[in-house]
């Protein structure tokens, strides 16, 4: 009873020919036909942001996007962020600051932040906060994520001393600090 569509999708710079039920979302096709499970199911109602990918550079909730409309457009997922063995500055900053805790929101956060940095390589904390407001996280309380994006922005624009001060990261004057 399902109708199928054949389409060529450009995903992370590669052309992939896929056959999929016509009504399937980009999220379903990325995960099931393309084997790219880095993009997560979180709610499938466009509420949580875990399924965020970039379409022609813009963040899109892949659970709400019909794959049939994606032909000829450039899709980027978390699997495409790394450059060879080199982590993307966002991935490196998330790792250094512990901004990925359970990790389930992380792919969506990374993609939304990638789009932000492409548009603005020197965002304020408030601009980051607003840009990420559609991506829910339940572990971190968001601070480490916001700080990681600030840090990565500095790296992207070549500001070697970029990044939040230690006081911002770890609080002020901590006697008997842990290791």
């Amino acid at each position: 009873m399902d109708r199928y569509t054949t389409a060529t999708l450009r995903v992370n710079g590669q052309d992939l020919q896929v056959v999929f039920p016509t009504h399937h979302t980009l999220l379903e096709v990325l995960r099931e036909e393309c084997g790219l499970t880095g993009t997560k199911h979180g709610c499938e109602l466009g509420e949580c942001g875990t399924c965020t990918v970039l379409v022609d550079g813009e963040p899109v909730l892949s659970c709400l996007a019909l794959t049939a409309e994606m032909e000829g457009r450039s899709i980027e997922t978390v699997e495409g962020l790394q450059d060879g063995n080199e982590l993307h500055p966002l991935q490196a900053a998330f790792a250094d600051l512990g901004a990925a805790q359970c990790g389930y929101c992380t792919p969506g956060m990374l993609m939304t932040a990638t789009a932000l940095l492409a548009e603005n390589d020197d965002p304020s904390a408030d601009e980051i906060r607003t840009a990420l407001a559609g991506n829910l996280c339940r572990c971190t309380g968001y601070h480490k994520i916001i700080e990681a994006v600030e840090w990565a922005a500095g790296v992207v624009r070549g500001d070697a001393g970029a990044g939040p001060a230690r006081e911002v990261l770890f609080g002020s004057s901590v006697p008997g600090e842990g290791s």
Binding site: L97, C102, R138, V174, G178
Partner: protein
């Protein structure tokens, strides 16, 4: 050291259970009760569906006992004759197409002859509502210290207050999910879970199988917060029943609305305080009544109640205490474990009561707390004498200093005078959290941790404690490598697979580092001792391991440790007297809010959370725990409200059950004081739950300071604040 969990998650390569490929498997789904209470008259399968294509399981397919093994065995795996709550599972379906199976769920009708449901836990049930024992009370516990009635009668001032807290949904970003398959004569279940051996026990009972014919493996878990403590046992039984009947692998993944509607939440609570004080504000008597809504089955409610009651007097010294609490049945989806485990509810109440006492006495709430905070050598409600070297007054003072509490009060007076529509205020709470299982729980668990040397000199750590975002892999690596003088890369953490790891207990109760970490230290020492030289460390140890394996072909060099209670501790379950926990962590929290009088929306402007946790082993992880916990608690205090109909959550979507976003979070400054705990790993006490205890009462106190209203019920939504303004 750096986090070990991060990289595969950052590359999108971490395989959560829904990411595991299922080439020849089936998808499972659940048919649930539409009714809160009644007898099942009929289960009607629509003739429009070809049911031969489906695997169908009901209660008659359960090979073992039809209950979910836990404290009491009252919760059926699948309803047989009657149902006690909306969304109670009745029939399971599986099909090779995920879409087909979810469509088919709508083609099965469970027809229930209704009985009157019990829906308000605050009211005594009518005779026709009794469904558990003679009074629907799952658990009734009384903590007694001194003579409360006499002290209340003699007290110059007695102050009463009633407080309520709402349910809270966990909203782990990864919904519940499991896969089951049959491997020879073993049923294997893999999934998102906190407690591999709880699931293992539930499967052996429900499937009627020997322990060695059930295997449970934890998959990377996208958040838990207690929501994956007991519920995964239900889902594991379901997916295993389908796999057994299908003879094929089956995957069940809940979608968000099903997960929010059908799984556990934080227990709603009603709490009344009567407190006797002298005119200086010293606590003379605390009489506390607590009622928790347990939902339709017992599940973990008795132990959630227990922890709630032990914390209900707050971190204060008082000679006369009576805390009388009940967890009661309603025909709601069962409530369950949620980070804090009953303590956030009772601490909300006692902290609000402290503010009420201060107001009625015309005292400063800071000074009231300062006067009553437990001093070294004083005792808690259960008579546990606190002698841990922690300075609770310093915790308070540090929070006041860092937040500039006094300066803020003055600043707010000016701000509020200058603004017509905006009001600012600052609020404070002081709190504590006992780490590890309550009372004799750890002795009863009798946890075991193991370490095993590999022939190349690396060490593998084997426990059933899992990573769900809090950093278990990192901290266990750190503990083992520091114990043995090895590099972190020389330590491997075993997958939590019941075929390999011993039962070191569940990943709950802030116990992973304090209790299990200590067992890892001891297991490491046990291993080294087997080499004949207890001082071996680092490269020498590595070499000795390599040499051992050359001499002992086919042997395994390992070390193990079993939990032993700290010397000198005692607990009496019958009288509820004694050392309820090995250690308490202590906290103080200051919250600043701004209320917009036009919308009655509250925005948190600033949070300071100061805690004494023994010893901070890993600052990055510890700060992550505090910040994340504070934000969860702010959500519970201000916006997270479950809307109920017939005992089921009807706002089971993230558009109308709102959790804090990056736009909602204030600056959170975190600071630690340290008084090492002799029996915790490297001096550490538990940390994971403490941060959820303090922010809600501080938010309410800040709203009180800003608006002059008296929030006694959370969440303080704009609607609830309007009722307060209207005097409702």
């Amino acid at each position: 050291m750096e986090r070990r969990e991060g990289i595969s998650k950052l590359l999108g390569r971490e395989l959560y259970i829904d990411d595991v490929p299922m080439d020849r498997g089936l998808w499972g789904a659940t048919v649930r009760s539409p009714s809160p209470r009644g007898r099942i008259r009929e289960v009607r399968f629509s003739p429009d569906v070809n049911w031969d294509e489906f695997v169908v399981v009901d209660h008659r397919d359960i090979p073992g006992e039809n209950h979910v093994w836990l404290i009491e065995s009252d919760q059926p795996v699948l309803a047989a004759d009657s149902v006690r709550h909306v969304h109670e599972p009745v029939v399971l379906l599986a099909h090779h197409s995920r879409e087909m199976v979810h469509r088919a769920v709508r083609s099965v009708e469970v027809i229930v002859d209704p009985a009157p449901p019990v829906l308000d836990f605050r009211l005594p049930p009518g005779a026709d509502g009794i469904q558990h024992g003679t009074d629907n009370v799952f658990s009734h516990i009384v903590i007694r210290k001194g003579d409360v009635d006499a002290a209340l009668a003699d007290a110059p001032v007695v102050i009463e207050g009633t407080y309520e807290t709402g349910a809270q949904e966990h909203v782990y970003l990864e919904n519940q999910g499991m896969v089951a398959w049959i491997d020879g004569d073993v049923v294997v279940v893999k999934g998102s879970l906190q407690c591999p051996y709880y699931v293992h026990a539930a499967l052996t009972h429900g499937l009627g199988r020997a322990e060695d014919r059930v295997r449970v493996i934890q998959s990377p878990t996208g958040g838990g917060f207690g929501g994956k403590e007991e519920y995964p046992s239900v889902l594991a039984l379901h997916v295993a029943l389908l796999a057994l009947k299908a003879g094929a692998p089956v995957k069940m993944i809940y979608d968000r609305p099903e997960d929010m509607a059908a799984t556990t939440k934080r227990h709603p609570a009603w709490i009344r305080h009567r407190t006797g004080v002298d005119l200086d504000g010293r606590l003379l008597a605390q009489a506390v009544e607590v009622v928790f809504d347990g939902g339709a089955y017992v599940t973990l409610s008795p132990v959630v109640l227990s922890r709630g009651l032990i914390h209900a007097g707050g971190p204060y010294a008082c000679d006369n205490v009576r805390i009388d609490g009940r967890a009661v049945l309603t025909n709601s989806v069962p409530f369950g474990a949620f980070r804090g485990f009953g303590a956030p509810q009772t601490i909300f109440a006692v902290e609000r009561q402290m503010d009420k006492i201060a107001e009625e006495l015309g005292m400063d709430p800071v000074e009231l707390r300062r006067m009553n905070l437990i001093r070294e050598g004083q005792s808690t409600a259960t008579g546990q004498i606190i002698r841990d070297g922690a300075d609770r007054l310093e915790v308070l003072d540090r929070a006041l200093d860092l937040s500039a509490y006094r300066e803020k009060q003055e600043e707010h007076a000016r701000f509020n005078a200058a603004h017509e529509d905006l009001r600012r205020g600052v609020g404070l709470s002081t709190y504590f959290h006992g780490a590890g299982f309550t009372g004799g729980g750890e002795v009863h668990l009798s946890s075991v941790a193991k370490v095993e040397a590999r022939p190349d000199g690396r060490i593998e750590v084997l426990t059933s404690n899992i990573e769900m975002g809090q950093g278990t892999l990192t901290i266990f690596t750190q503990i083992a490598s520091e114990s043995l003088g090895l590099e972190p890369d020389d330590v491997v953490i075993a997958e939590a697979d019941t075929f390999r790891v011993p039962n070191s207990g569940p990943t709950v109760a802030s116990r992973t580092v304090m209790v299990v970490g200590r067992l890892i230290e001891k297991a490491c020492a046990d291993l080294v001792a087997k080499l004949g030289d207890s001082d071996l460390r680092g490269p020498d140890l590595k070499q000795a391991i390599v040499d051992w394996y050359r001499k002992h072909s086919g042997g395994v060099l390992d070390g193990a440790a079993r939990y032993e209670p700290p010397p000198g501790t005692s607990w009496d379950e019958d009288s509820y007297r004694g050392d309820a926990y090995g250690a308490f962590a202590w906290g103080a929290c200051v919250v600043e809010v701004e209320v917009d009088l036009r919308t009655l929306g509250t925005r948190v402007l600033d949070v300071v959370a100061v805690q004494e946790v023994g010893k901070v082993l890993n600052e990055l992880l510890a700060r992550g725990q505090i910040q994340g916990g504070v934000v969860q608690a702010i959500g519970w205090a201000l916006m997270e409200e479950c809307v109920w109909s017939d005992g089921a959550m009807v706002n089971n979507q993230l558009t109308n059950y709102m959790i804090p976003t990056s736009d909602d979070v204030p600056p959170i400054r975190v600071d630690f004081l340290e008084a090492p705990y002799a029996h915790g790993t490297g001096g550490a006490k538990g940390i994971g739950e403490l941060p959820v205890d303090g922010p809600a009462p501080a938010v309410a106190a800040a709203i009180e300071a800003a608006t002059g209203t008296h929030p006694r019920v959370i969440p303080v939504t704009p609607e609830r604040l309007m009722e307060l303004y209207d005097g409702a």
